[in-house]
Amino acid sequence: MPTTASPIIAALEGATKAYGAHRVLDGFDFALEAGSITALLGPNGAGKSTVAGLLTGRLCADAGRVQLFGLDPADQRARARMGIMLQAGGLPETLTVAEALDLHAGYFARRLPTAAVLEQAGLSALAGRRCDRLSGGEARKVQFALAIAGAPDLLVLDEPTTGFDPDSRRAMWDVVRGKAEAGAAVLLATHHMDEAEALADRIVVIAGGRIIADGSPFAIKAAVAATVIRLRTRQPADRFRALPGVVKVETVGADLALLTTAPRASLEAALALDPAIQDFGVTGASLEEALANLVQSNRTAALKEAA
């Protein structure tokens, strides 16, 4: 984590965006700092892609201020410092990988040499292959190569490693980390919690158009203090829902998994409920479980507020 205040790369101030009558964002504040990898997480429709769309100038805010490198995101000078990997990024079918990359890199004055980009994206062996003859994962690598080709100060990645094998995935993560260490800001939208956990040094959770958590992956997990208790019981699952600290009960194979914020109290109550319990285990929750818990409790709080 950067210790000194890093320059702001991009920011939303009081941004509002509605689709028809549906307000996705309402007075939303958010900023991205140089040298940091920020993951945007949240359920579908929470406003993640709207936030990314506003910052990159793909969408226009109805109200509020949006700035990219201190400029309007539509400004060519701002765009010259940004590299984007879209979720549905088609490629020019009949051009080769090297031709497509060379063409795109040419839009940027600070472009990296094509050979270096191919190497970083793990595409050196595919330079002469036509884009319509690539596998899904290979095409994603080309889109990543296009995103880094202009040596961007802001790298926006939307579901970057979909369709990747584990080795390619780790290789891309290493390159992304390297870009952040060299001072770039990275905005990552992903559904893969392990990706966010492995890569991001800041996680921003959005639900219902609001930021409900913002911190390091460790801090997010600590904030919800989520623990999972797995146990084997003959008692019905419903009876465990009411135990102290338990926020969620799931059936996992022959076991029950209790997500709890008070592991000790929950475990004692569970053992009291069914003294016959022999097998149980206690583990820290994954980021995914912590998030589910967070989104759930936020929803409950919102309902209470509304009532």
Partner: protein, 252 residues
Amino acid sequence: MMTTALIPSPMPVYARESWAEIVKSARMPQFIIPTIALPPAFYALFALAMGQGSAEAATRTLATFGVFAVMGPALFGFGANIAAERESGQLELKRLSPMPAGAQIVAKVAATTVFSMIAFMLLYALGIAGGVALTPAQWAMLVGVHTLAIIPFALIGLGIGYRLGQKGAIAVANIVFLAMAVLGGLWMPIAVLPEAMKTIAWALPSYHLGEMALMAAGQREASNLWLHAGPLALITLAAALFAWTGEKAQAR
């Protein structure tokens, strides 16, 4: 300023984009063969083989078929191509890049011009072989009219491509392509058409361009030029509006 060094000088970008567009299309045989080979093939069949060696018929048909030859690359190159690139997200990525806004259009116009020129040069070669004899000034004017034809058709293609998906754009471009050719009198003079259809011709750029091409080739009285150049200018303006509003509808 540091920021000025971020944008490359635009000319090489335009040139590279244009070259890429030409290469992309040239590698699509399904695009290149029908658009370039069809007009000369039709010309050889209808004007030369069936026209029984009349130099006058060969000249008249050459003038109107030249307009026909431009329509394919312009309507399909813009319409279907833009729709496909929009659907696949390529257009979006370019729009979010620092690429100069005009580069995409300039590149497509360049590619359309190259392929149209190949098509009507093939026609001219066949025409000369079939007995067409024009003065250098007439040839120059004919090339001018045929090149001018790219503009309205490209704009119509652009408007279609911005509004429809790839499949829809191809279907609509085909209908427009055939209607322009037949009702615009490019295949046969509109004199043979029913009265109601002759009126429609006045709203079609293909009709006015065909008549202007006939004037260039000395087959019509050139004093009527404004009778066709005027409506053509209006139609082109409307086509530009059609393309521009389609582009605007993309922005969110």
